[in-house]
Every structure is written in structure tokens, then in C-alpha cells.
């Protein structure tokens, strides 16, 4: 049924349909609406779950860790500093091979403190062993949660999935969304059947000490599983499309790339703006396009290669930095083409929209304009020169 809903409400409704038994929550803007809605569902008896208000994000992550370890589907959400405070636990959840879904309402990182959107929080956790999906719009937010649970709990995976949605733009934005029915969700996402769990009937030890004779193989297994997920994700999204009628490959989306000469690579809600600009410029005969990265982890090297190998000029738009080095998405996009014969003439790197600065259509046009044969390195878009004086 098509409904006009706030993004956070959509997440809460979808999570409800996924029937988690345990939800933990700690407030942080702009994630808070999600868990508030879930708290109300539980209070109303619409959702049979244990809702645990914890004293920190560290414990929010630890509570859902304990719940999944006991064999129960669980959910939590956070943003920014909250995600960083969870970081230690998030690495641990992946190492313990526990399937979980966490919504990251993307927000900038302090200092200076800033509650608005960029993607520094989740991008910084790219090495944690979590799958990361970045949503363009609220429909994708809804669908990636469903796909995420199914993927995480697949017996070949048993790994956590982070659904990243741009703070405010998607958490507080309102869109018309095709909401699934409980029957559809039940058909796509069966009840969670753990491979292993804490159960006195069959006692196991979880979280061993692994010395140098054993540790490396556990990390190898994580690496291989995430690489294999590049094959598994499109299989699951195909099944998704059979039930819900929407098609994703779950890794990338190519937008008007055929015959394109200049292409922007980006993740998240900015892709909607870029599509509009692409349409406008295409109408004027400019050969431009967009490559949207949906799965940032695992990173879809082959798919990106296939999409960009014949594009002469590529610009990568990062909404995060790796301070002192190339921007994360730009560096990895370049790595796709190392040693390849077919490759773009130039891959430039642009930074925009940090700390909630709007990425306007003009900003996107500026990036397309700067996509020349001259390579741009971490070029900041829409900086205010008047704020960059040497002294005050």
C-alpha cells in the first residue's frame, strides 16, 4: 500500500514487520524518531518485543549482541558519536558472527559538534565486518532493511548489516512509500533460526580467546564471507523483487551511463539530486551520468569496473574524509582500475555536503563542469572563502 510517511516512521514500521524480539535504544539526533516509534508500537502491544532503554550506545549494541547470541532477532539504531561509541562492540558483533540490523542515521562527527548530515560516521566503520547499504530514498531505506535481515541471517553469511540513511534528508523527510504487507514480509523473511545460540540444553562457549594459532583464520573467514556476499546480495535482491516487485542488484545502480562521457560516483540521498541534474543536462545534450554505490561493504569492484571502464571522466563525490589522505570512496574507486587496460582517463575526487551543507543542483553542475582532463584531488565544493582567513 502506498503511504505518505516520514523516513523514521517507515523504518519503524518495517522493523515491526520483521518482528524483532529485542530492541535496544539510546537517544541521539537524528536517529531518535525511529526508536520512539518502536517504543510506541511496543507500548501499544502492536509489536511483541522487549524494548530496552540503555544508558549508552555501547550498551545498546551490547544488548542486541546478547539477544542475538541467545537466538532472538534484534534491532537497534544510532548516529554519529553513538556509532563511534558502539564501534568496539560492532567489530565484536561481526567477529562473533551474529546477524543484526542497525540503522545508521548518518550525521557528522564532532568536533565541532554538528547534528547534521554527512557520512563520516558509517564510512569510518567500513573495516568493522558489517555489510553497509546506503539508501538513496525512503523506499530504499524500507527495502534495504528487509533485504538486510534476510542477508544477515543467511546461513552462508551470519554477519551484521548496517542500513545507512542520510540524517534529516531521509530520517525526517516525507515521501510516498510502497509499504509491504505482513504476508509479503513473512514470505520473504522467515523466522530467525540461529545456527548457534546460548542455550542450557546445548551449552556452547562463544567469544573464545584465539591465540596466534587460530586468530587469523577467523579474520580470513570474515573476509571471504564478505567477498562472497557480492554474489549472495544479488540473489537475495532477485528474490526480493519476486515478492515486492522492486528491482535492485543491491550493489550499484547505473543511471544513464550508456554513452556517458562524464559520470559522478556517489552514495546516499545525494544520488536523487544528481539524477535530476543528469536529466537536465541530458536534455541539453550533455553526455552525463551517475553511478550510485549501494553496497559500500562489501565493495563491488567488478560491478564498478564494468560500469566505469568506458567512461572517460569520472568524479567521485565523498561526504566523508580520510583526513590526510584521499577521500574513502575516491581512493577505492581508483583502486578498481589499478593495472586495468580499460579505465577512465581521469578519476577526480570531490568533497561536498559535510556537516549538513546542502549539496545543491548547482553544486552537482559545478562538479560536472570540473570533470575535465585535469585530475582534481579532494576538491571541496561550496567552501566559503570568507571563513578561511588565516586569523580572526
Amino acid at each position: 500500500m502506498r503511504e505518505f510517511l516520514e523516513g523514521s516512521r517507515v523504518v519503524a514500521e518495517i522493523v515491526k514487520l520483521c518482528k524483532p524480539g529485542v530492541i535496544s535504544a539510546y537517544p541521539i539526533t537524528p536517529q531518535t524518531h525511529i526508536v520512539e516509534e518502536l517504543a510506541q508500537f511496543v507500548a501499544n502491544g502492536e509489536l511483541n518485543a522487549q524494548f530496552i532503554n540503555v544508558e549508552s550506545e555501547h550498551s545498546a549494541a551490547s544488548v542486541v549482541l546478547g539477544a542475538v547470541a541467545t537466538g532472538v532477532r534484534a534491532y537497534t539504531a544510532t548516529s554519529s558519536q553513538g556509532l563511534f561509541y558502539m564501534a568496539e562492540v560492532l567489530f565484536n558483533i561481526a567477529g562473533l558472527r551474529l546477524p543484526l540490523i542497525l540503522t545508521c542515521a548518518n550525521r557528522a562527527i564532532s568536533a565541532p559538534i554538528n547534528i547534521w548530515n554527512d557520512q563520516q560516521d558509517s564510512v569510518s566503520l567500513r573495516d568493522s565486518g558489517w555489510v553497509q547499504f546506503y539508501a538513496e530514498n525512503i523506499q530504499e531505506v524500507a527495502d534495504f532493511h528487509l533485504i538486510g535481515y534476510r542477508l544477515a541471517e543467511d546461513k552462508a553469511m551470519m554477519l551484521p548489516v548496517m542500513v545507512c540513511m542520510d540524517g534529516y534528508t531521509l530520517t525526517h523527510g516525507i515521501e510516498t512509500v510502497d509499504m509491504p504487507t505482513q504476508e509479503q514480509v513473512d514470505k520473504f523473511l522467515p523466522a530467525y533460526k540461529p545456527l548457534y545460540k546460548l542455550d542450557p540444553q546445548e551449552p556452547i562457549t562463544m567469544g573464545h580467546l584465539a591465540d596466534p594459532d587460530y586468530y587469523m583464520e577467523t579474520r580470513f573467514a570474515l573476509q571471504r564471507t564478505l567477498e562472497d556476499a557480492l554474489d549472495l546480495i544479488p540473489k537475495i535482491t532477485l528474490e526480493f523483487s519476486k515478492v515486492f516487485g522492486r528491482n535492485y542488484n543491491g550493489l550499484i545502480e547505473e543511471y544513464r551511463l550508456k554513452d556517458a562521457e562524464r559520470v559522478i560516483v556517489a552514495m546516499g540521498s545525494v544520488c536523487g539530486t544528481i539524477k535530476e541534474v543528469v536529466d537536465e543536462l541530458r536534455a541539453k545534450g550533455k553526455k552525463v551520468g551517475l553511478l550510485k554505490i549501494t553496497a559500500y561493504r562489501p565493495f563491488p569492484y567488478q560491478e564498478i569496473y564494468g560500469a566505469l571502464k568506458d567512461i572517460p571522466k569520472v568524479g567521485v563525490l565523498d561526504r566523508a574524509l580520510s583526513l590526510g589522505a584521499s577521500a574513502p570512496l575516491a581512493a577505492e574507486t581508483k583502486a578498481v582500475f589499478f593495472g586495468k587496460k580499460k579505465k577512465p582517463q581521469v578519476i577526480s575526487s570531490f568533497i561536498a555536503g559535510l556537516g549538513g551543507r546542502d549539496i545543491t543542483k548547482d553544486a552537482i553542475k559545478e562538479i560536472f563542469r570540473l570533470l575535465t582532463t585535469k585530475e582534481r584531488m579532494t576538491e571541496f565544493i561550496d567552501l566559503k572563502p570568507e571563513l578561511l582567513r588565516e586569523s580572526y
Binding site: 529485542v22 522487549q50 544508558e55 546478547g66 551449552p203 562457549t205
Partner: protein
């Protein structure tokens, strides 16, 4: 029935914590799930591919066992199995009183039906005997060494039992590996009560305290009998029992341990430590009544 914490682990000879861990889990029985913070106990009992635990057991991180246990409890409630299964969150003194205190406080405040056990060996023994918030006054640790300008650890123990009582939780007790029956009685009592329970167990560490490994029980008992480690029990905030003692001078306890060796010939410091014991004896009414003849 065999023990639920089995032989073959790699604890040091005379490790008080290993003895206490067995006493605790045997008293709880097989229908128990344990969440364990990082520390000696975790390291010496679960080195892959082995495990000393015959109950379901999980280790996540240094400071989050109380929150992990909360998740286990919530999952058991969801599954309708909580009534039949005990949940334990256990840690050493650092994992309890320092780095793990926030998660522990949150769990207590939420009223979770979980027994938290602190194995108090009074320092970060696993990392090489560093000072914790439960290291006693005067102790020589690797991060509170005595020197020309220091007598060792200059702070008293953080009053964890009182902190637990202040949370309004229904059961708080201290125990000692030197008094195993008392320890197991308290564990059984704790799990019979619904809600958060805190049990702090004094566990001598031959390595860190530098005493003979055969003296674990004696050293444990001396801590109690000098009044330096009162065995007390609170139910719903009320002190309901204390182990009565005929106090022995603190010197008897201090002199058998290398960690206090630097104080034994320092009358001024001995006086200060005796005052800590005397204060405990007064505060908790530890002194046994004189036998009437």
C-alpha cells in the same frame, strides 16, 4: 554431578578466582547462562579450542558483560524461558568497578533479573598487576609502586557494595573464597531473588599479591578476620548479616603478602591500615560478642 567449571584451564596454581568461579557456577546449576567480561577468568578458561565451561558462556568485551547479559535476559523473556534460567554477568574488579561500572549501573537501574559477580583480586592481574579502583590502600602494584615519594596506592577501595545498595537492588553481598560454604549460600540466596543481585567475592591472587600459592585460603580468611574485608549481606537495602570476627591485627594479613611488604616496617602506615579495619569493624558491627563463661 561433575563440576560446571571443569579442570584443565590454565589459571595459576592457587588462583582464588578459579576456585570462586567454580563455587559460583556449581551453586547456580546447569540452567545458567554466563556473560563474562575480559579478564583473567575469561583468558584462562576459554582458550580456543578448549573451554572449561559446561554451561552456555559468552565473552564479548572488557566492559559490557552486564549489557550483554541484559540482552540475554531480554531474549529469554521474549522466548518465555527466563523463569527457568539464571543469567550471570561476571567480571574482575577492574571490569566491575572501573571500566564496566556504567553498563553495570545501567543494568541494575533497569531492574534486570541478573546476578552480577565481581571476582575481586584487587588489581588488573591479567595485564600484569596494575592498580584498579578496588586496589586497597597502600598496595604495591605495577602502576602504584612505592618509592621515595609514594607509599604505593594512595586511595582506599571504591565502596562497590554501597554503590550497589544505593541502586536500590534487592540483594548485595560480599563473600570470600576463604569461606566457600558462605559463598555458595549467598549465590543460592541471590538467584532465589528476582531482580538485580550483586555479589563481590574476595579472591586472593598468588601472582599479584605475592603470597605462597598454598596460602590462598589462609590469606582469604585473614582478610576477613582482620576486618579489612567485611563479609556483609544486604537485602532490600538493609544489612541482614555480617560475619562476626575476633579481630586480628592487620599486620598478620599484610606480612604474608609481597604487595604490602614495603609497609610492614612502617608503623605510621600500619596504623592507617589498622584504622581502615577498625572503621569496618565499627561500621558493620563485625566484632563477635565475648563468650559468657
Amino acid at each position: 554431578m561433575g563440576h560446571l567449571f571443569t579442570a584443565g584451564h590454565t589459571a595459576c596454581a592457587g588462583c582464588g578466582q578459579a576456585i570462586a568461579a567454580r563455587l559460583v557456577i556449581d551453586a547456580c546449576g546447569p540452567n545458567t547462562i554466563v556473560a563474562n567480561n575480559t579478564g583473567c577468568l575469561e583468558v584462562f578458561s576459554t582458550r580456543y579450542p578448549e573451554s572449561a565451561w559446561e554451561v552456555p558462556w559468552i565473552h564479548s568485551l572488557f566492559e559490557n558483560a552486564a549489557a550483554v547479559a541484559s540482552g540475554i535476559e531480554a531474549a529469554l523473556i521474549y522466548l518465555g524461558k527466563k523463569e527457568a534460567i539464571n543469567v550471570i554477568a561476571q567480571a574482575g574488579d577492574g571490569g566491575t568497578a572501573d571500566i564496566g561500572l556504567q553498563a553495570l549501573s545501567g543494568m541494575w537501574e533497569r531492574g534486570a533479573d541478573i546476578l552480577s559477580v565481581c571476582y575481586d583480586n584487587e588489581a588488573y592481574e591479567n595485564t600484569g598487576i596494575q592498580r584498579s579502583g578496588l586496589t586497597p590502600y597502600g598496595t604495591n602494584t605495577t602502576t602504584s609502586p612505592p618509592g621515595t615519594k609514594s607509599i604505593g596506592n594512595i586511595r582506599p577501595k571504591k565502596p562497590m557494595p554501597e554503590i550497589a545498595v544505593a541502586h536500590g537492588i534487592p540483594y548485595v553481598a560480599t563473600a570470600s573464597v576463604g569461606f566457600p560454604q558462605d559463598l555458595q549460600r549467598k549465590v543460592k540466596k541471590a538467584i532465589s531473588i528476582k531482580g538485580p543481585k550483586y555479589l563481590q567475592i574476595h579472591v586472593p591472587c598468588p601472582l599479584g599479591w605475592r603470597h605462597e600459592s598454598a596460602l590462598t585460603f589462609e590469606v582469604g580468611k585473614l582478610a576477613i578476620e582482620t576486618g579489612l574485608y567485611p563479609l556483609i549481606e544486604y537485602e532490600f537495602g538493609v544489612l541482614i548479616s555480617q560475619r562476626k570476627i575476633t579481630p586480628r591485627p592487620v599486620e598478620e594479613y599484610l606480612k604474608v603478602q609481597g604487595r604490602f611488604k614495603h609497609l610492614v616496617n612502617n608503623p605510621e602506615q600500619l596504623k592507617l591500615i589498622q584504622a581502615i579495619a577498625d572503621n569496618n569493624i565499627e561500621k558493620y558491627n563485625l566484632r563477635a560478642e565475648k563468650q559468657s563463661s
